[in-house]
């Protein structure tokens, strides 16, 4: 009996070392294929994220030379600064203006463009087109539209006998004007995703609803919208995050003004860091931005899990 056991265990042993060696080899092969991605993520994402956090606790001189530890000073100053609180308020208002409106418009377009009609492909392309419009070009067109004397918008208002509006130069309108521009630029993306969601709904559901005598609106509200909720959810998460990150249209349309009414958070970070050279203070703002987006994403997923109707 004994020799047999010895043979068995030796076999076991070699199988084990073989498996271990194989596992190690697999691990390094995997790492080899992952190494470019890991390298770029570490250098341009993890390290800078850590560094931003680090900067936010320090006083810095120009070009990021660290001078002295200040603890939470930047943060306490941020939340006492009227400028930053105003910037946060504008950012939240901007999100409120752009996200729901953008989704509702795109949803309406997706619903009418989901009909199987002749030439529908043309309309789908037009509705998607804003995806191919870069932020600078789009904002420039609207800059011209908002022009106080040459702009089309004020000309139309003039024709209707309404006085002109100071689209970009009054602090009560500027944020709205930037929001209009942003909604227009976001329609393409939202439309493509929502149309895809609608087309994914099985045709049979509509057939049987028709047999039960359900009309157009009934089908829309009891089939399309409930089954579209995961897609609506996805679109709302993505546009919410995007609108917290708005920058280009601000830079072109208003430069944060008038009287800081459009100084959204990313613009504020940009100005503090690259105009005023306060890297530490700007980094604290960047951390606040990160936390806001993190919290919103987590909340949306928690709420989404419960509410969203998955097929």
């Amino acid at each position: 009996m004994e020799p047999n056991i010895a043979v068995e265990s030796r076999k076991d042993l070699t199988a084990k070392t073989y498996r271990k060696r194989r596992e190690r080899k697999l691990f390094w092969t995997g790492m080899l294929y992952l190494s470019p991605a890991l390298f770029f993520l570490v250098v341009f994402l993890f390290y800078p994220m850590f560094k931003t956090l680090y900067f936010s606790f320090f006083q810095t001189a120009g070009a990021g030379i660290v001078q002295g530890f200040v603890g939470f000073d930047h943060y306490t100053r941020l939340f006492q600064s009227e400028l930053f609180l105003g910037s946060l308020k504008s950012t939240f208002l901007f999100v409120l203006y752009t996200v729901p409106t953008g989704i509702v418009i795109a949803l309406a377009l997706a619903v009418i463009a989901s009909e199987k009609l002749r030439g529908i492909g043309f309309f789908r392309i037009v509705f998607s087109s804003s995806l191919g419009i870069s932020v600078a070009a789009g904002a420039t067109i609207w800059l011209f539209f908002f022009h106080p004397t040459l702009g089309v918008l004020n000309n139309i208002l003039g024709l209707l006998g309404i006085g002109s509006i100071k689209w970009l130069t009054s602090s009560s309108w500027a944020l709205v004007s930037v929001a209009i521009t942003t909604i227009w630029m976001n329609i393409g993306f939202n439309f493509i995703i929502l149309l895809g969601g609608i087309q994914n709904i099985s045709e049979e559901l509509y057939e049987s609803a028709k047999m039960d005598g359900a009309g157009y609106w009934r089908q829309l509200f009891s089939i399309t919208l409930p089954l579209l909720s995961p897609t609506l959810f996805f679109v709302s998460v993505v546009t919410l995050i995007n609108s917290f990150q708005t920058f280009g249209q601000i830079d072109i349309l208003t430069g944060g003004g008038p009287s800081n009414s459009t100084n959204l958070i990313v613009y504020s970070i940009y100005r503090e860091a690259f105009y005023n050279g306060r890297f530490g203070y700007a980094s604290a703002q960047a951390i606040v931005l990160f936390l806001i987006i993190l919290v919103f994403t987590i909340v949306q997923f928690k709420v989404g899990e419960k509410r969203v109707h998955y097929q």
Binding site: Y33, F46, M49, V126, V135, A136, F274, F290
Partner: protein, 269 residues
Amino acid sequence: MIKKIIIYILLTLSAFLLFAPILYAISASMMTPQEIFSGALIPSSPSLEAYSQAVNRVPILQFLFNSFVVSFIVMLGQLVVCSLAAYAFVFIPFKGRNFLFFVFLSTMLIPWEATVIPNYLTILNLGWMNTYQGLTLPFFALAFGVFLLRQHFLTIPRDIFESAQMDGCSRFRFYWSFVLPLSKSTLSALGIYGFLTTWNMYLWPLLVTSNNDVRTVQIGLKMMIAQESSTNWNMVMAAVVLILLPTLLLLFFGLKYIRKGLLAGALKG
């Protein structure tokens, strides 16, 4: 029938409203400065004068070239880096890969703007201001791209992989001659997506370029507005149209792929 007509009317109306800004930009680019000042909607005698002005007075062709180079490099870089990573996540069963994939996905939570200050300093310290590598390298690893390709690679039947292994096909050859060709449409989707988003990038090129040799169209346009918008709106609009053309064309011809890519993110995610 009535429903059809109503829908056509709605479609036409919304298409017109949505596209009106673009149409007006085209129209204004063909006007004379006088017509712009009088608030005309359509040029009385369309001319391409503003285009030749835009091309001659501002290095707009150089900006377009720079944007092409930058977008193309980022696109290629993302395709290579993301497909290799996605391949490892699907076809190499190494220990800890679920954890690493989770780490990759979680990077989508980091807004890029939160890292922009240290990234700027990195590029500054490397002496890469005003270089193509400074404009492109920070964007090579894209978690969304890895995710998108992984989802597609998972649909490749396992028995192809197993029989290729039996035939002694190396891992890299399997990646190169089976996985990549079988994923052409997803790769195109990611490629077009990467190209468009890079073309549209604004904050980063604003920070790391200060001369016309590498400046991209977005920043070129910003400069042009600062210089010309008080007098030459027709020229600015001509520049806008020139900048819009490449991406709009790419969108029209690649819409099928873009939709596929975006939807894969939306519906499976």
